[in-house]
């Protein structure tokens, strides 16, 4: 694997009033890696992710994403990354085509390029027949696949996925991961959070956050060896038990 670092985090900290949500975390992500970012609810995952994508300012510490400092070069960071979350992904009251055009425009793609990408994307996802339908009418699984593709429109070096498969049916969830694998094979780095522990097994490396601290970080295989358990679910239970 290419050892070039696409994310470097040093002592990253976020304090809200008297509460320290992220307590000086440090880690690195390799280029082209599928990196799983796990943790219990309230462990600080979302806060850490928000700092990495440049929408929350760290209280202290440093993070470099795609070669840019998240504080000094926030706008360059945003241009180099893709982002999708379960809560907000697309506009329900725009059609599939309109969503693609809108996000293409936001990312500064030319009209010609948007048209080209639109055709590729609709073909790849077999959405040609419903291209003029409102996104709100799509089943959740399709929406998530579309949302992932749109997050990749501007060919970012790294894409952040915040619980992309929550509530999605089991078959579509797996198709989604096959899309992730295919994208990672092209060299795109994937940074993903999930509550499905079987999905943690699909990652090259996994970090587990507990109360603002990264308690473990390794490949799923090594984590299972380290904690002497059979599944990532058991690793998670061992680490995160009795926290709240």
């Amino acid at each position: 694997m290419n050892q070039e670092k696409i994310i470097t985090v040093q002592n990253l900290t976020k304090i809200f009033g008297t509460f320290t949500a992220v307590k000086g975390i440090s880690f690195e992500v390799d280029k082209g890696e599928i990196f799983g970012f796990l943790g219990a609810n309230g462990a600080g995952k979302t806060t850490a992710m928000k700092m990495l994508i440049g929408i929350s300012k760290p209280s202290s510490g440093k993070a470099v994403v795609a070669g840019y400092d998240v504080v000094e070069n926030t706008e360059s960071v945003k241009k180099s990354i893709g982002y999708m979350s379960q809560k907000f992904s697309l506009y329900d009251d725009l059609t599939i085509k309109e969503n693609i055009t809108f996000f293409g425009g936001i990312y500064g793609l030319s009209r010609k390029n948007i048209k080209l990408k639109m055709n590729d994307l609709l073909t790849e996802l077999s959405l040609q027949d419903v291209a003029n339908k409102l996104v709100g009418s799509l089943p959740l699984g399709w929406k998530q696949k579309l949302s992932f593709s749109i997050a990749l429109l501007h060919e970012p070096q790294i894409v952040f996925l915040d619980e992309p498969t929550g509530g999605v049916d089991p078959i579509t969830r797996r198709q989604f991961w096959e899309m992730i694998y295919a994208e990672a094979n092209k060299g795109t780095t994937i940074f993903v959070t999930t509550h499905y522990m079987d999905e943690a097994e699909y990652c090259d490396r996994v970090s587990i956050m507990v109360e603002g601290v990264i308690e473990a970080l390794d490949s799923p295989k090594k984590l299972k060896e380290q904690f002497n358990v059979a599944s990532m679910n058991d690793v998670f239970l061992k680490l995160a038990r009795n926290v709240e």
């Binding site: 609810n41 078959i171 579509t172 694998y181 799923p220 679910n233 998670f236 239970l237 709240e244």
Partner: protein, 298 residues
């Protein structure tokens, strides 16, 4: 029977959300509706809790008709909707007091029922509900649904978006409530939670695919599932999909679950094929199916 549903349907304009569903839930049973987003689970809950009138069919909860006797149902059931629906700008204690008052009772009167759960959020009783963490919100919502000592509890996706540790704790709470004699209808998109129910209905696109005890559903499954692994997971999925007698290929955590079409399938043949595709560290082992395997095969 605590819940009896006969041929119930609900359509919204052109969408058939629930399509002629029938099932029964016994008194004291922990019954699971298992299915993905859009399966119709929430619509079923809303009809049973009298918040939505069925397009066709009949349903009874505790012997009361969901349309004609809705008031009696509302007094005797607890409902925890999928979306957090407590008052965000009231404190933990105020929310609980409010729900107790609405049902003409007090926190003290039914404290025994919620004690186990409430003591976990009591340190934050003066905090506004909107400022609670996800896990605590969920516990408060459960307390509010229990405060009038309902006979039947409806829980719509109580564990969606909840981490594995909190999910496990939540199911332990449900088991304790069941022991107190409460009938529970719970829905979840997490297939691993199915095995924790007495009986389950697998549901997709408004239809029930199967109803039974989880262990029975597993033992009646007539296909053999092989867990396959090699050093190249993504390539393994692609190559297994290219195997001529392939029936299905799905990633399952550490392994790929493979089902073959042929009854005289030999794993050695598949092993040779994978070797010819340059896979290393190949393992192929028959395994017991999970509810998720079966769901995907229906």
């Amino acid at each position: 029977m605590s819940i009896v549903i006969q041929n119930i349907s609900k359509s919204y304009q052109s969408l058939q959300a629930v399509d002629a569903i029938s099932f029964e839930v016994k008194e004291g049973e922990l019954f699971g509706l298992i299915g993905p987003d859009g399966a119709g689970k929430t619509t079923i809950f809303r009809m049973l809790t009298t918040l939505l009138i069925p397009s066709f069919g009949e349903a009874k909860v505790l012997g009361f008709d969901v349309v004609k006797e809705y008031k009696s149902i509302r007094n005797s059931v607890g409902y925890m909707p999928g979306k957090f629906s407590l008052y965000q700008d009231l404190t933990v204690e105020e929310n609980l007091n409010f729900f107790a008052t609405i049902f003409g009772t007090t926190i003290e009167e039914n404290y025994e029922l919620i004690k186990d759960i409430y003591i976990q959020i009591e340190p934050f009783k003066n905090r506004k509900a909107g400022a609670l963490s996800g896990g605590m919100k969920q516990k408060l919502a459960l307390c509010c649904a229990l405060i009038h000592a309902p006979k039947v509890l409806f829980l719509d996706e109580p564990t969606t978006g909840v981490d594995p540790v909190s999910r496990k704790e939540f199911w332990q709470m449900l088991k304790r409530l069941q022991q107190k004699g409460i009938t529970i209808l719970v829905s979840t998109p997490y297939m691993d939670e199915a095995s924790l129910c007495d009986r389950i209905a697998l549901i997709q696109k408004g239809k029930i695919l199967k109803i039974d005890a989880p262990a029975t559903i597993i033992s009646e499954f007539d296909k053999t599932i092989y867990a396959v692994s090699s050093s190249q997971k993504h390539q393994l999925i692609i190559d297994l999909k290219g195997y001529p007698s392939m029936h299905s290929v799905y990633a399952f955590g550490e392994f790929i679950h493979y089902i073959d079409k042929k009854s005289d399938f030999h794993s050695q043949d598949l092993n040779h094929y994978l070797i010819s595709k340059n896979h290393q560290d190949i393992e192929i082992l028959p395994i017991e199916p999970t509810i998720e395997d079966i769901f995907m095969d229906l």
